[in-house]
């Protein structure tokens, strides 16, 4: 089965961790992830500037490793990201901001990517709140 997974919460929220564990289980179960889409405060789950305490799970780093090692399509909503200070190099240059916190494998794009993923997937599963 093909899954689209949307994440609406930051790396420090339990629901971001649950989304990651769910996504891992989807692949472990032999299913496919059409796209991961990060919206609202979910854009913070993609930030490379998150520093987790040493004795806590670094969910943002785990998302990055998971996406990299499985070569997944991971889209961060550009409007939601700009508003929250999550910028790739192009946007940091465009708005003359000193920090880039969204390198590859993440892609900044629009909400059309959420709709497209929902259309091609058999299931759209959303993770938000706490």
């Amino acid at each position: 089965m093909k899954f689209a997974i949307a994440v609406f919460s930051p790396a420090h929220a339990p629901s971001s961790r649950r989304a990651l564990r769910y996504a891992e289980a989807v692949l472990a179960g032999g299913h496919e992830i059409a796209r991961l889409f990060f919206y609202q405060d979910g854009v913070h789950s993609a930030s490379t500037n998150v520093v987790a305490p040493q004795d806590e799970v670094d969910v943002a780093a785990q998302w990055r490793a998971f996406i990299d090692s499985n070569q997944l399509d991971a889209v961060v909503c550009i409007a939601a990201a700009l508003r929250r200070g999550v910028l790739d190099e192009a946007e940091a240059n465009r708005y003359q901001r000193p920090a880039v916190n969204l390198p590859k494998p993440w892609e900044l794009s629009g909400l059309g990517q959420l709709h497209e993923a929902a259309q091609v997937a058999d299931r759209l599963v959303c993770f938000g709140g706490d």
Binding site: A6, Q40, A79, A80, L111, H115, A118, Q119, L124, G128
Partner: protein
């Protein structure tokens, strides 16, 4: 055939960007001619209150963007009757033409759509 999507908007317009971000999903989908519905639930019904003055809290007026929904082809608009009553909003004063649904109709509505996003 395109899958239908119901967007459930649960936040008041003054409570951060959630209401606007739920609306943006609807407008983006409408631009692709997708079959969409939007349900205002819980504090989300405050988005439908008449005569809002968002400038008093340095916010933009969401109502104008909500009015654009039918123009973007999003004509299936709903509000939860229970949520309206609890917040003292009368169905005939709302800023948008919505169908007001009781709890049984809400479950039927959610079941009718292929996919649901709640913000």
């Amino acid at each position: 055939m395109a899958k239908s999507l119901l967007i459930i908007s649960r936040q008041a317009p003054w409570n951060g960007p959630s209401a606007r971000e739920a609306l943006d999903i609807a407008l983006a989908g409408g631009a692709f001619d997708l079959p969409l519905g939007m349900l205002f639930l819980d504090d989300g019904v405050f988005q439908l209150a008449p005569d809002q003055q968002p400038a008093a809290v340095q916010q933009k007026n969401l109502a104008a963007n909500l009015q654009a929904l039918p123009m973007f082809g999003v004509e299936e608009l709903f509000a939860c009757s229970h949520s309206l009553t609890r917040r003292g909003l009368a169905p005939d004063t709302l800023a948008l033409p919505v169908q007001v649904l009781d709890d049984a109709a809400l479950s039927a509505l959610i079941a009718r759509f292929d996919q649901v996003v709640t913000l």
